[in-house]
Symmetry: C2
Subunit: 341 residues, 2 copies
Amino acid sequence: MAAEVAEQPAVLAHLLDAGRAEVAAVAEAIAHRRPRFVLLAARGTSDHAALYAKYLVEVRLGLPAGLVSPSTLTAYGVTPDLRDVLLVAVSQSGSSPDLVEWTAAARGAGALTVAVTNSAGSQLAQAAELHVDVRAGHERAVAATKTYTAELLALWLLIDRWAGGDGAAAQPVPDAVAELVGRRAETQDLAERLASDHGAQVVLTARGYASATAREGALKLMETSYLGAHAWSGADLLHGPLAVVGPSTPVVAVVPTGRAAPTMRPVLARLREMGAPVTVIGAPDAEPGRSTDLILPPGLTEELSPIAEIVPLQWAALDVALRRGVDPDAPRGLSKVTSTW
Amino acid sequence: MAAEVAEQPAVLAHLLDAGRAEVAAVAEAIAHRRPRFVLLAARGTSDHAALYAKYLVEVRLGLPAGLVSPSTLTAYGVTPDLRDVLLVAVSQSGSSPDLVEWTAAARGAGALTVAVTNSAGSQLAQAAELHVDVRAGHERAVAATKTYTAELLALWLLIDRWAGGDGAAAQPVPDAVAELVGRRAETQDLAERLASDHGAQVVLTARGYASATAREGALKLMETSYLGAHAWSGADLLHGPLAVVGPSTPVVAVVPTGRAAPTMRPVLARLREMGAPVTVIGAPDAEPGRSTDLILPPGLTEELSPIAEIVPLQWAALDVALRRGVDPDAPRGLSKVTSTW
């Protein structure tokens, strides 16, 4: 897992270089078909990449988007009418039967289908009309790291190009990620706090694009350290789950520079009122009157920030596992490729 | 909270009787406009009603559907192109500013808009072109109970009528709910297990329509008892979060009779392999070779079962709170109407 976290700058640079032509061709094929509605299908870590893409589609393209409920088809046998729909299926392995079945059925029901995978020969890549290879190389650790950030970048490149962009904003991504890979020591305080007894439960929160970071950070902590990690959007947190936060519940808020940051201020204020120990990962001025615990490198737009933001949480998850004596490469109950129906 | 849980059969019977004409008129107005995509907007408990409606729309109407990310508009200032879209906004109070703003903007962007609320005079009801009143009467407890089941029934009646149904399948709902209201004692074992020390973390799981029950049950446990309750679809659970389940992690699986039940079998088998203490709420034959812990009353279709299934979890949440010495009517950090932007 540590090797794959460290490999991310090279993986992202490789995708920017070697993947650009393929992504551009797929983006042009999509733009030509002018979809009016976008559905995203994924599971686990890739579902967080899909959530990221949902925001991009809505904000950059002004198209309504939704996440697929695979059981509509696999349990209830229904394929909706998908004319004018683009289905984007995201999966590291490209082999979960429910996603393959959904993608094939969606294609039959009139959708334009795109698979975003790390496996060009996979069933999912074959089932979809178009394919984007995230080119992350073989991933061995059960907890996905480099395939997640490669999926995010591939989805950004795809949607940016579809929206008429030239992809230039992504050039600083590998260096920003490399900087955070090199700052593992800064996450030790967080790891120590999370690994202590009262840290058996932890809450991650963010809004907008960074919501994907909160969800993926929570999943990493669950997978590698068995922590009861919850992720909610800042707004959803205030609508009920806030009650679980007590004076000994560690909270991690991800608040990069950008338009979602002001919407997190009332959330941070409420968490402070409740006495929660809050760690802020984000912009230097994320929280008025307080210094940010882990400052993200400047130079990335809010859209691209999730590709970097997740790195400190990957390190924290790994280090919590090591402090707790858990092997982060072999979590209990999990295997690298999960088949669900 | 106890009074409102017990009031549900009367609330549901009243909605079936007094609400039918209004629901039919709204359903006909929707059918006339022939929307091609459906978006649902909600927060907290109402978001679980929205998830339920998403399955109904996909399965009964064969239309693609998605849950709205309100921050697209409120943080990023973008309203997608919503021609041919039906937006359904669900909110007990009808007063959260983000939902009101989204609904008004969606209406301006070409969507047909419907508000489903317990407050006919609310800003949300005014902002939407059409309104369905769930007629649950004033709800005083912070943890929503009767407004949740009334929202589910109102959404079922609306979508059933839109799909050409006559609503008859819902007639047994009040009696089924009344039966479960009367079986509070049966949830005491579950409440005792959840209230014990190792019960600080609990996992709820289900698939298909019952996914809404797992999510809402988890939220009730968080709101009233501050338990770290997680809800995942059975399939998503296997894609990572399963790692948090250990031999002392209580799991509640909701498995009613129906087409999703077979998809839960491999999930139950994996949970048993991991030694987790699993409580099954559902059909008598939900798990091969084992008796179901809490058997749901017969006579409801799988579609309508969530309106009844939630009752044992409402009782359990209330009784865990009482056992832990927490006042379930006044959870820390929460108020009845939550305003988010």
